[in-house]
Every structure is written in C-alpha cells, then in structure tokens.
C-alpha cells in the first residue's frame, strides 16, 4: 500500500516537474513579446486576448483551430516518430505534398467511383505516397549510411517541382488563377462531422493515428525496440535489436503520417490539389515535436496549443493590423525557454 502511495507521489511530482518549466516558458515568452508590443504602441492586453481566445469565442474560430490542428498534429508526429529512434525527419513537407499528389491523382482518375471505394483509396494513396517519399532517404540511410537530415530536406525541394508539374501540366484547372488541379471526385471527399461551420472528419483519422502511434511505441515490443534504439543504438544492437531496420521503418512511418495529412488537406479541406497547401506546417511540426521533447503523449496537447496561437495570430492581424510574425516570435521564444529550462535544471 505504502509503496503504491510513493509511486503515485512520484508520478505527481514528476508531472509537476515537467509542467512547471512549460508554464514558466509560456509566461516568459508572452512577457518578453508583451514588452515589445507595449514599446511599439500596440494594446498588449487586447492583442493577447485575441491570440488566446479567438479559438474559443465563436464556433467558427473553434472549427478553424481544429482544421489547423490536424496537419500540425500529423506533421509533429511525422517528426517525432523517427526522433524516438534517434533520426531526424526534416522532410515532412515533401511527404505531405507527395501524399497530397497521390490522393489527388487517385481522386481525379477514379472520380466516378462511389465514396465507399474512393475515399479509402484516396486516404491510402496519401499514406503510401508519403511513405514512399520518406522511403527514399530511409533506404539511402539503410544501404549507404547517408545522413537522413540532408536527404529528407532535399526531397522537399523535389516535391515542390513535382506539385508544380502536376498542378500546371497534368490536371491543371484552367479557370483558377493559381496553380491548382481540377477537383477530385465527390466520392473522395471526407464527409462532414459538423455542417456549419464545416468541419470534415479528417480530425478523427488524425487523432486515431496519434493514439495508435502512442500505444504502439509505449505498449509493444516493437515500440520498445524503437525507444531503445533512440536511447543508445550501439547498446540496442549489442542486445539484439536490428537498429538499421528501426531507422528505416521509423522514417517510413513518419512519411506515411505526413502523407496522411496531405490526403486530409486534399480530400477534407480543398477537394483539389493546390500549390502551397503545405503552408508552414513542417516548421511548426518540428517546433511542436521539440517542445514536447519527443514525448508522444505531450505532442497532441502542444499541437493544440500551437493551433490556438496560429488562429489567434491571423485574427490579430485582421482586427488589429499586428503582423502574424509576432506570434512566430512568441512560439520561438517558448521553444527557446523550454530548452533553456533543461540547462537550468541541470545546474
């Protein structure tokens, strides 16, 4: 009995030890930017209440936040899963784009099929194409030991040209002023969860992916192998884990998650392929993964917080003419302070 009590006390203390630096980092980042706002002459309180509460004031704000949340969560997972094995996937952007291309291609080519067939095909195409795009650097790492940071980044640039080609040459929509394809078949569109304001059901898939990833990593022997590889690849190899396969698989799973977010953008949000649909999700995803310190339980919560900030930032720009970039500064400072708290704690 007493042992259980101490274990519980231990857990509570550990949770407090984790949360307090985060709260301090957030407060410190807002305070630092607040001083700057005040110096430039903006209304600090109004700006912050816009940033923090836009998501919760109107149904529309909340739906906007959830729509942002889906790609941010999946991008963060695409970065965090390989990170668990000690590998850096900086190619989530390219994997999202290629996943979106795959989803759009299937959605356009088989546009006549009913939803029961087309929607799963569209989703699957996104996952497979995204996974394939990550499999190239993963295989180069597995076979030749080429650093995955370089190759995943370079694959992003290839994907930019690829989407340009697809959206301007193959399935170009001549009526659009921006490189865009024709719409996918109606059977490939995600059904709506809420009709007004429109919220598609992609969020269900994203949350399911987060849960599956968390359970796999924390509850299965394969997940144990992944964590052990990230903790010390050499020791894991000495004790029988095939770490090179772990590197390979973790990167491909990361790519598949990013590809899924590409499919959701196409089939849920735009219903077509649009150049630039990757937004800045990659960088935000990396920031989320690092803020969560690679903890897969923390990632969904941190991602939601960043989605709130992002939606609030757009609102602030619209209503108060304060550039959204200020919120990037806040996000960067939070990350900086979270990382700094590690250094402080070690002293």
């Amino acid at each position: 009995m007493s042992e259980q009590t101490t274990e519980l006390g231990h857990s509570i203390k550990a949770l407090a030890d984790t949360l307090i630096p985060y709260i301090l980092a957030v407060v410190a980042a807002f305070a630092a930017v607040g001083i700057f706002f005040a110096a430039v002459g903006f209304d600090v309180l109004q700006a912050y209440s816009t940033i923090l509460f836009t998501s919760f004031r109107t149904p529309n704000g909340f739906v906007q936040t959830l729509l942002k949340y889906v790609p941010l969560l999946l991008q963060a997972l695409a970065f965090t899963v390989p990170l668990t094995a000690g590998k850096f996937n900086i190619g989530g952007e390219g994997q999202l784009i290629v996943g979106a291309i795959g989803a759009a291609a299937v959605g356009i080519m088989f546009s006549g099929l009913p939803m029961l067939l087309l929607l799963p095909m569209v989703i699957l195409a996104g996952i497979v194409f995204g996974g394939f795009w990550a499999a190239i650097p993963a295989w180069l790492l597995y076979r030749f030991g080429i650093n995955e940071i370089l190759t995943t980044v370079m694959m992003n640039f290839i994907s930019f040209s690829l989407i340009d080609y697809v959206a301007t040459e193959i399935w170009r929509d001549p009526t659009a002023g921006h490189p865009t394809t024709v719409p996918i078949g109606a059977g490939g569109e995600f059904p709506l969860l809420v009709a007004k304001p429109p919220l598609n059901s992609g969020i269900v898939l994203a949350l399911a992916a987060a849960v599956i990833v968390y359970v796999y990593v924390n509850r299965t022997p394969g997940g144990y192998d992944l964590v052990a590889t990230g903790a010390n690849a050499r020791a894991s190899r000495v004790f029988g884990i095939n770490v090179r396969v772990m590197f390979l698989l973790s990167l491909i799973v990361g790519g598949a998650l990013a590809g899924l977010s590409g499919a959701i953008e196409v089939a849920g949000v735009h219903h077509r392929l649009i150049e630039g649909l990757q937004s800045n999700f990659l960088l935000l995803g990396i920031i989320i993964g690092l803020m969560a310190r690679g903890n897969l339980l923390a990632v969904p919560f941190v991602a939601f917080f960043i989605a709130v900030l992002e939606v609030g930032a757009s609102a602030m720009q619209r209503t108060m003419m304060i550039p959204v970039e200020f919120v990037f500064i806040v996000e960067a400072l939070i990350l900086l302070f979270v990382l700094l708290s590690d250094v402080v704690r070690r002293r």
């Binding site: 550990a14 299965t220 022997p221 144990y224 964590v227 052990a228 020791a235 004790f239």
Partner: protein
Amino acid sequence: MKNSTMLEMKGVRKSFGTVVALDDVNLQLKSSEIHGLLGGNGAGKTTLMNVLYGLYKPDRGEIYLREKKVEIQSPKDAISCGIGMVHQHFLQIDSYTVTENIVLGTRLKNRPTLDLDQEEQRIQDLSERFGLEVSPSSLVEELPMGIRQRVEILKAVYRGVDVLILDEPTTNLTPQEVESLFQSLRVMVEEGMSVVFITHKLREVLSVSDRISVLRDGRNVITLPRDEASEEVLVRAMVGEGLDVGKSLVFSDTGLDQEALQVGQEPVLRVEGLQVVNEEGNPLVKDCSFQIREKEIFGVAGVAGNGQQELAESLMGIRPIAGGQASIDDTSIVGLETRELLEMGVTYIPEDRLQDGFLPTANVAQNLILGYQRQEPYHNRGFLDWNAIFRAARELITEYNIMTPSAKEPAANLSGGNIQRVMLARAFSHPAKLLVAHNPTRGLDIGSMEFVYSKLLERKEQGMATLLLSEDLDELMLLCDRIATIYRGQFAGVLERGEFDKYQIGRMMSGVETHE
C-alpha cells in the same frame, strides 16, 4: 633530508552537490617514500589526488609543501610546485614521437626550428637513470601500454617534479611490467623523490610501499608503515566491519572448496578455428579453438585490446564469424543474429557498459529488460506487460542493491557502480546456459565484487557455463577452471587449475612464451 615531510594535506573536504566525496582528510607524505593510497572504488583516492593536482577545488583544507603553505589552482600550479600526476587514462598525442609528447607544453631551447636534439638527449639520460627504457624517437601510437605509461612518467620527471602521483598505474600492465615499474619507482625515491601510488590492489601496495594510507567513504581510516601492515589489517580498514574477511571470496588465497571445483563433462560451447576480421579483412581473432563444459568457468587473460572484445562479440553475434566453427549444444551459431542467441540462452555482460549496454534516456526498468523484451513474462499477446516488467524490476533493484528512488527513474541518474549492477542484474536474472562476461567487476567496490563472484559460482554450481574475459589476473585465478591467455588475437596457451602461474601467464600476455 630523509624522512622529513615533503608534503602535507590537512582537513581536505570536497563535495559534489549533496555527495561528500572527501571529509576532513589528512595525508602526510615524507621525502624519499613510496606512499600507497589504498581504498575501494568511490573511497575518494582519485578525488584527493585531483585536489592536490589542482583539478578540483576543495571546499576546505590546506596543502603544505616542505612546511610552506601553497595554493594550487590548476595543474600548471601543481607542476610549478613540483607535483606531477600520471592518470589512469593517458593524455598523449598518438601521432607524435615520445620526445614530442614529453616536451609538449614546456619551454623549448630552439623554438623556431623545433630542433629537439638536446631535449631528446635529456630524455634518453632520464630514461636510463630511472630504468624507464623507451626509445625517444618512436611514435607513441606504436607503443604498447606499458611503454606508454613510462612516457607519461618521463613527462613528469622531465618537468622536474619532486612528488609523483600514479593513479592505478598497474591496471593494464603484465606482471613483468609491474615489476619493472616498481623497480623504477625505487630508483626515484632513492634519489629523493616521493611517490603516491593509488591502488585498490592489496598485494601490490604491500610489495612496494614504505607507508600505506587507507581511505574509506571519503575519510581517513589509518596510516601505517609497511612493516606494521598486514593484508588482514588493510582489508578490515578498506571494507569496514561489514564483510567477513575469513569467508570472503575476493581475499581468499587458495580459492574455493572442492565442491566448487567440480567441472562437468558435456561441452556447452565448442569453438573450432574461430576467425574474426575487421573491415579491412585483417584478422582480429585468429584460429581460436576451445570448449567450455557444463559447470565450467573458462577464463581469458590478456592485455586490453588483444582481441578479447572481438572474441566476445563474435560469439554474441554482434560481429560476424569470418571462419571456423562455433556451436552451442551441437547447434551451430555461425551466422546467427544476437536476438536468436539471446533466445537460445546466451547472455552477455559487455565491457564498455555505457556504450554497449546502457540506455541513458530510458528508465531503469526498461534497461533491465533490454534484449528480453519479447520474452515471458514481459511480453503478452503482442503487448508489453508493464505491470510484470515493473514488478520484476523492483525485485531486481532490491536483490542487486541498485541505488535508485524508483524503477521509473531515468537511468541517466544512476552512478557508474549502479549501472554495472543493472548490467549484472540483467545478465544473471535471465536463465542462460552460457554467459559471456567481459570485465564484469570493473568499477565495483569490494562488497559488490564479492557479490559478482558468488553469482558466478552459483551459476557454476547450477551446471551452467561461463566465458570470463578479464584483465584482473587475481580474479581469473580465483574463479576459473581453465585460463587461456590471448595475445594479438591468438591463444598463447591454456592452463588448467593447479598449474596457474601469474608470471607464466604474464609472459604469455606479452607474447614471449606460448604453452601447448
């Protein structure tokens, strides 16, 4: 001059965070003496000497040199006071010659031309005077450990030190090299120098020291002249009253009772003409053949880096076997993966625990099951059973006396000795017909060594086979039924219990002799 006080440390205290490493320690060093500083791991020997050498700043305490108070803030101050130190790990530049390594950081006569003839001559003279034979123009990377250590001592002597501190100098030496080191130290003290000799090996300290001080848990226990010291007294001082010296395995001379000496008949591991090569195809282990039977502890002696690790890793499936045969219970293990070997019942205590056996960011429980995550009871229908894992971890933490607040604690917070206990707990708690143990007692205090020895003997009694690779000859001679000596990847000879001879093994370790 003789027997005047050369150096005195008074009331030294040093703490790291909440851990008090040294508490009110005094040490008096006379001129012309070899002073043995004895203590188990973590007793504070090295910390005390690092304070003297200016590497640590003490919280309290004073240092007097020839009865004058000195402030030592850095190794530079220490050297200018005439204090030199030879560390356990040498700080040498491999691609430099002996002369270049020795003069590095000193004032040179011909600085612009780097003409080192004069310096080389002086080094030659010093090396002859002290019997520290070394060729000044050879490259350091080509020298064996024993010679590299001479270079390190010459470095100190060249700088004209009066006090020389040697931290565990005999760790990587053959018995012959130890003898020759001791002779050189004798010459030095006869010329008026003083030597502090840090060690945890009783027999060495008794054979060479004039006086002996014992530290335990960061405190002085006793200081004795050589003729008043005996093994018994020193052991008591080192380990306190907690250990029954009479029954202790670590200090037993004759070894074990007859019961423990029984060896079975059936071979468990058979190795025939084993070859291991590096990436360039050069052999690291050549033509090794041996068998380990049931109830046998088979020892491999040798100076570090002669193929021990490669031998162990090839048997564990970590390195490929390039040639020859190896089988366990008549099943060939050539080409098997580590995972398959672990499932067959082979287990491993790696030498380099931090690199090869330890997951710093994972918790203690996760570390304890590494390699066994797919076995009962940790694994249940595709999922890990964390309740079973933590239950097993808590039992192991108690049984192996691992100092940690909880099984959920990040393993990075464990100390070196506790990390080693995790390695031992993992290896001993899973039933294995063959254990490959490489330096399993490195970094452990005497109480824990005792524990490892009793666990190894317990395995033996249960009929299981052990391959024990160790650099500690006393350990091998105590535990093993047979000892092979490995030199440059080849067995120089295998001795049976009863014909163990430290000096013969030493000669085989340095390649002078082979035994058929």
